[in-house]
């Protein structure tokens, strides 16, 4: 990797780290299942940008795109199932606050 490519990657890297911090903070501080999912989404966006940027500076954008497409498909499945779980929790407990999910076994 050339010096200019490394510097470009570092420039994007700063924003990727900031995005990771934003998503992680949202996940750890929120007590709402939907907000936790939103934080998780922001984390995934940071990872997506990282993969695309890495593929770009290495000159292998096709491989990066193939991986990102796989990531997006898995992301949508995870979000659909997690949304269903949040809805299920709301119907059974009338809340989506994870601290109040008292009828979980285990």
């Amino acid at each position: 990797m050339s010096q200019s490519a490394l510097q470009l990657f570092c420039t994007f890297g700063i924003f990727i780290i900031l995005l990771l911090i934003t998503g992680a903070y949202c996940m750890f501080v929120s007590f709402n299942l939907i907000r936790v999912l939103i934080g998780f989404e922001i984390l995934i966006k940071a990872v997506t940008l990282l993969i695309i940027c890495a593929g770009y500076v290495c000159g292998r954008t096709a491989l990066a795109q193939a991986i990102v497409i796989t990531l997006i498909v898995i992301e949508i499945v995870v979000m659909v199932v997690a949304g269903g779980v949040a809805l299920w929790a709301y119907r059974h407990n009338k809340t989506i606050d994870p601290r109040k999910l008292s009828n979980l076994k285990g």
């Binding site: 200019s4 510097q7 470009l8 570092c10 420039t11 994007f12 890297g13 700063i14 924003f15 780290i17 900031l18 995005l19 911090i21 934003t22 903070y25 949202c26 709402n32 939907i34 907000r35 939103i38 934080g39 989404e41 922001i42 966006k45 997506t48 940008l49 695309i52 593929g55 770009y56 500076v57 000159g59 292998r60 954008t61 096709a62 491989l63 990066a64 795109q65 193939a66 991986i67 990102v68 497409i69 796989t70 997006i72 498909v73 898995i74 992301e75 949508i76 499945v77 995870v78 979000m79 659909v80 199932v81 949304g83 269903g84 779980v85 809805l87 709301y90 119907r91 009338k94 989506i96």
Partner: protein, 163 residues
């Protein structure tokens, strides 16, 4: 590079707004905006197919899923909203400070950003379609399995809720 820099700043600001806003619907709109900005960045980084996927699936479909989930839950009263707004401000005022401190630290000590760099021209190789269909069989198999698992999961969740 200047446009990329503006897009990256916009991405961070919109993500911050998404996390900090009190209404869930606004958060979902912010998330869709974040995806849209990310897809523009991806397009500019010579990844048009992934950008289209990001725009259509993450900005469109996931927003619809979130809106559907939120619409099934109960709307909170104005009194509760006022209390939660205070709680949320107390929790989240640290976040912009943390982000600015991290950015300053990274710029000064760890990384040396060059904002005036020209964009690189990627090397030509196999196309995405060729790569996906000929070299990444296992990924495709994994995607099919995940889609089936997701579909079954949703069916089971909603079936149980009808009882």
């Amino acid at each position: 590079m200047t446009i990329n820099l503006i897009l990256l700043f916009a991405l961070i600001l919109v993500a911050l707004w998404t996390v900090m806003t009190i209404r869930l619907i606004r958060s979902i709109v912010g998330l869709a905006l974040t995806s849209a900005i990310l897809s523009v960045i991806m397009y500019r980084l010579h990844s048009p197919l992934a950008a289209v996927f990001e725009l259509s699936v993450c900005s469109g479909l996931i927003s619809v899923i979130f809106v559907t989930t939120v619409s099934f839950t109960q709307r909170i009263s104005k009194e509760k909203l006022r209390i939660r707004r205070k709680e949320r401000l107390l929790k989240f005022w640290y976040l912009p400070v943390i982000l600015i401190a991290t950015a300053v630290m990274l710029c000064q000590h760890l990384l040396t950003p060059q904002f005036t760099l020209p964009l690189l021209v990627p090397a030509q190789g196999l196309g995405v379609r060729d790569l996906l269909w000929s070299c990444r069989h296992l990924d495709l198999l994994g995607q099919v399995v995940m889609l089936l698992a997701g579909a079954f999961g949703v069916v089971i969740l909603f079936k149980e809720s009808r009882k």
